[in-house]
Amino acid sequence: MAISVDPPDVSEHLRQKQGYTFTFLSDPNTEVIRRYDLLHKAGGPKEHDISRPAEFLVDRSGTVRWENFTEDIRIRPRAEQMLAAARAI
């Protein structure tokens, strides 16, 4: 599941263009992004507030089992890395 400040129609466009089948959630007011302390103030175009990149693998009880916070927005976890973490649950 992916979350960003993008409005639903933008996310839907991205989802269809890329052929993604997972859920996209929209948080344009950075409400949830703030609650998770992921706000990147003025990090977007035209000084818009956005989310910093972060990944959480959460089990059924809502507990974080694996997470990743990049220090460089060019570096993101690889699919194999996330799948390995998911298989370990």
Partner: protein, 183 residues
């Protein structure tokens, strides 16, 4: 065979040789100084600029299998090496203008290489300017539940996403990917 060292020494030892020596030196210089067409290409300038241009292009290596941790430093080191080579070329051209071309080209390349290097430094700082997020949920902690609209404008909560889709087993885990957006 040219004159030996002792011959030159004895020749220059004569009192009337001052003028001769001057003429001789000038003749030698004229003879050995390469003409405008014999100047060497200042390869350091060209290789330097090429390497500097590879700096921004090395950002595409993030799609490769190279360990990501070394890439930011590689993105910075490549244009730095390129700029250094260009500067070596400039020093060559200014110290040995009779041997190396590129006095004018060198200054143009220096500006280009310096701009590309400055851009790489700016990018390096900009992409690493990420908040620390010390208050984010840690491993072993529970994440707060929430409800947000999905891409079809339907409200979706974490609890809902954990419930089984029709004909599917209940998911064991959920991966929450927060991303920057503006794609």
């Amino acid at each position: 065979m040219g004159p030996s060292f002792s011959e030159i020494a004895s020749f220059s030892g004569r009192s009337e040789n001052v003028l001769l020596k001057c003429v001789c030196t000038r003749a030698t210089l004229l003879h050995f100084m390469p003409g405008p067409n014999q100047k060497r290409t200042n390869s350091a300038l060209w290789i330097g600029l090429l390497i500097t241009v590879l700096g921004p292009l090395s950002n595409f290596l993030y799609y490769s299998k190279i360990p990501a941790a070394v890439l930011p430093w590689l993105n910075l080191a490549i244009p730095a090496i390129g700029l250094l080579l260009v500067l070596i070329g400039v020093v060559r051209a200014s110290r040995q203008p009779q041997l190396y071309r590129g006095k004018i080209l060198g200054s143009i390349f220096t500006v280009l290489a310096a701009l590309l290097f400055a851009g790489s430094v700016w990018l390096f700082i900009h992409v690493r300017d990420v908040p620390r997020s010390a208050g984010a949920p840690q491993i072993g902690q529970r994440v707060p539940d929430f409800t947000l609209p999905d891409s079809t404008n339907q409200p979706a909560s974490l609890a809902q996403l954990f419930s089984a889709a029709p004909g599917m087993a209940q998911p064991k885990a959920l991966l929450l990917v927060f991303y920057r957006g503006y794609w």
